[in-house]
């Protein structure tokens, strides 16, 4: 036997992680993982960041993964450690984020005995992960770790759990280096060129084309975003991004119509509704994007490129399906567009742009901010000022959010020019995501400016991570739009439930300035519009963690809005567009 046989399971685990290029683990110790923590203590190759709650560890790993393109790694103990991680895992599954989560488990001979801190982790996490493993034999350990990383990052990325019984990590185990490939999981990355040709033929004939891209383009790496930009510019077509896809195409570009969907812009949604050829890449036609399905973009031929065949024809039947990596697909589209001598219909395109510009002239994101001294701050204005005042910052800027109105306003009013700089919980809609995700981003990018645009209700769901910020001197800025309500719940109650604000008001909110202080951070507060810029400027000069508590108008609603059960052309616009509201149907009321 080689010297490798002298390693313990814990040492084999760390060696496998190192061979997978892991630099940081977000975790929390406990009985079942003590041998792993002991091995971590005796090495320097891998850093450990001690979180304050296991959900925070997974979101931090997500932030790390989304801002670097690498796999995020989590280490938690058995039982409650694992169950606390489930929300984060489900979040990563819904948003296709590569995460490997190592969970401790009771020793193999106690599994099934209701032992202390035992939970059926592989059973519980099966629907919350892309795949999971329970390592029952020492000789399977190294292979399981390597496979987990391969599965997490290949194809449509996602979270993978490796459940590690304590006897497996204590006992001796052989080490095997990473193998290439996988016996059964081999996702198709190269698009079929026949399908590319069909897509180009449709696009060349389009009179009212529309491009709609999602998180798949971000997941495919910066080269995919570059190819997307090249394709959009060479076609001259309009483009919209999903919430997950923001940053794949530069927001400042005139061909960009803003985000689409429930809180998307008027021009993006109406262009989706009225187009005759729709090209979707790395997006999944989810209900927040499509609105009422039987009214969704009825007049268009649809081309759908996705790495996950199960995303194609799931909600919306399409005419041309392309299975493959978004980057490879876009490169193939660029090449085929240029190689095809057919002229696209420039005249029709000009007419189409004239129509889009008319929609754009509606300024659907418009809001009115009273600039008088002492006036209440509009949340949209706070985000606009945050955006404008950060333009002069000579740092890479990353934005995370919690979930709710502030998240939608951030998506609407903060402009993203490049991929991997915007992290938000899209699919699962996890309140409490933003602070730990920002923490993970800051760990990966110590010199960057990382801002969590938060709501006061969401941020309290993982506020304990302020302790982690303090311990590792992570200068994350928590920018709270404080309206004292669960704003999106309040908005729906106003619009759909007769203004009965059942349990959506947070009485007895903490004093966020004192709260920041108690967590060794700096607390700032803006009560009125004249104080806003100073607070933002001060926040940006502080090299420690900051909570900026921005008191905003509690009555402000997030518009435009496609009410549940409505179609893209039945959008409600804000107060600036009185008399154009669409009704909400009984069928719509059932939807979330």
């Amino acid at each position: 036997m080689s010297a490798d046989a002298a390693l313990t399971g814990a040492e084999v685990l760390l060696r496998a992680l190192k061979d997978q290029g892991v630099e940081v683990i977000f975790g929390y110790p406990g009985g079942a993982v003590l041998p792993i923590y002991d091995a971590l203590f005796q090495q320097n190759a891998i850093r450990h960041v001690l979180v304050r709650h296991e959900q925070g560890a997974v979101h931090a790993a997500e932030g790390y993964a989304r801002s670097t393109g690498k796999v995020g790694v989590v280490l938690v103990t058995s039982g409650p450690g694992a169950t606390n991680a489930v929300t984060g895992l489900t979040d990563a599954l819904m948003d296709s984020i590569p995460v490997v989560c190592l969970t401790g488990q009771v020793p193999t001979h106690l599994i099934g005995n209701d032992a202390f801190q035992e939970a059926d982790t592989t059973g519980i996490t099966r629907p919350a992960t892309k795949h999971n493993y329970l390592v029952k034999r020492p000789e399977d350990l190294a292979r399981a770790v390597h496979e987990a990383f391969y599965v997490a990052r290949s194809g449509r990325p996602g979270p993978v759990v490796i459940d590690l019984p304590k006897d497996i990590v204590i006992g001796k185990a052989p080490y095997t280096p990473p193998a290439s490939g996988h016996p059964s999981y081999r996702p198709q990355t190269e698009p079929d060129h026949g399908q590319i040709a069909k897509a180009i033929a449709l696009l060349k004939q389009a009179k009212r084309p529309m491009i709609y891209t999602g998180g798949g383009v971000i997941n495919a790496g910066p080269a995919a975003s570059a190819a997307l930009t090249q394709f959009v510019r060479s076609t001259g077509f309009p483009i919209t991004n999903t919430l997950m896809g923001l940053g794949a195409y530069p927001a400042s570009d005139p061909q960009f119509l803003g985000m689409l969907g429930m809180h998307g812009t008027y021009e993006a949604n109406l262009a989706m509704h009225g187009c005759d050829v729709l090209l979707a890449i790395g997006a999944r036609f989810d209900d927040r994007v499509t609105g009422r399905l039987n009214a969704f973009s009825q007049g268009s031929k649809k081309i759908h490129a996705d790495i996950d065949p199960s995303s194609i024809n799931k909600n919306v039947p399409v005419d041309v399906a392309i299975v493959g990596d978004a980057g490879r697909t876009l490169e193939a589209l660029v090449a085929a567009w240029q190689a095809d001598p057919t002229q696209s219909d420039r005249q029709a395109l000009t007419t189409w742009w004239r129509q889009i510009d008319a929609w754009r002239a509606k300024e659907s994101l418009k809001f009115t901010q009273d600039m008088k001294l002492g006036s209440i701050i509009k949340p949209q204005h706070a985000i606009r000022r945050l955006y404008e005042l950060t333009r002069s910052v000579q740092k890479d800027i990353f934005i995370t959010t919690e979930v709710g109105q502030h998240q939608m306003w951030a998506a609407q009013h903060f402009r993203f020019e490049q991929p991997n700089h915007w992290m938000t919980s899209g699919g699962l809609g996890t309140m409490g995501y933003g602070l730990p995700a920002a923490m993970g981003v800051q760990v990966a990018h110590p010199e960057a400016l990382v801002i969590d645009i938060a709501g006061e209700a969401s941020v309290l769901m993982n506020i304990q991570e302020m302790g982690t910020l303090a311990q590792y001197r992570l200068p994350v800025k928590v920018f709270i739009l404080n309206n004292q309500y669960m704003g999106m719940v309040r908005q729906w109650q106003e619009l759909l439930h007769g203004g009965r604000y059942s349990e959506s008001y947070s009485a007895a909110l903490p004093d966020f300035v004192k709260l920041a202080d108690s967590f060794h951070a700096v607390g700032l507060r803006a009560e009125s519009v004249d104080q806003l810029d100073d607070v933002i400027r001060e926040m940006l000069t502080i090299d420690r963690a900051v909570i900026a508590d921005i008191a905003v108008d509690p009555k402000e609603n997030c518009f435009p809005m496609i009410p549940s059960g409505a179609a893209h052309n039945e959008m409600i616009l804000g107060a600036e567009h009185e008399g154009e509201a669409a009704g909400i149907t009984d069928e719509g009321l059932v939807l979330v």
Partner: protein, 169 residues
């Protein structure tokens, strides 16, 4: 409008025989609200490295395509074959059927069993256990006939299926 016609599909799935694979497949069906009309599973390779799962399900064309795509993206799945779509196939199941009774009904049960080529594999003075193999509708028909003749208990395997000719999964 999307096609709302329902069809039945017999899907065979070749999987890596690892712990939890059946739970993964069943969980996929329950989690996404698909029907399982029948499910069978057994190791099909020497050494038990791979298992074959046969699922009979029903849904619209779009749902069945979705089921196949969802099955195919499970990590331990090697291959998914829609036998109802990919050409002629044979599907069989086996049932053990207990019929209790005396006198004329007992004789009639035996007569029908003979017509269906069911074998008697257990007999007492008050009962028979028939073994019957065949297509699902043949089993259904036989069981239906036995209802009036003292049907006491049924145990069925569920469908196993395979393509006709040289084609393999």
């Amino acid at each position: 409008m999307p096609d709302t016609t329902l069809r039945s599909a017999t899907i065979s799935v070749l999987v890596e025989n690892e712990p939890g694979i059946l739970a993964r497949v069943v969980g996929l069906f329950s989690g996404r609200g698909y029907n399982i009309d029948s499910l069978t599973v057994a190791a099909v390779e020497s050494g038990g490295a791979r298992s074959r799962i046969n699922i009979v399900t029903s849904g619209t064309e779009m749902v069945i395509e979705q089921i196949k795509a969802q099955l195919d993206r499970l990590v331990p799945v090697h291959r998914v074959a829609d036998l109802s779509l990919e050409g002629p196939h044979i599907a069989r199941e086996m049932a053990l059927i207990k019929v209790a009774g005396v006198g004329e009904k007992r004789v009639e049960a035996l007569r029908i069993a003979d017509a269906f080529r069911a074998r008697v594999i257990d007999a007492t003075h008050e009962s028979f256990v028939f073994e019957l193999t065949g297509a699902t509708d043949k089993l259904d028909a036989f069981i239906d006939l036995m209802r009036h003749l003292g049907l006491a208990e049924v145990s069925r395997t569920g469908v196993v299926a395979i393509a006709r000719g040289v084609r393999t999964i």
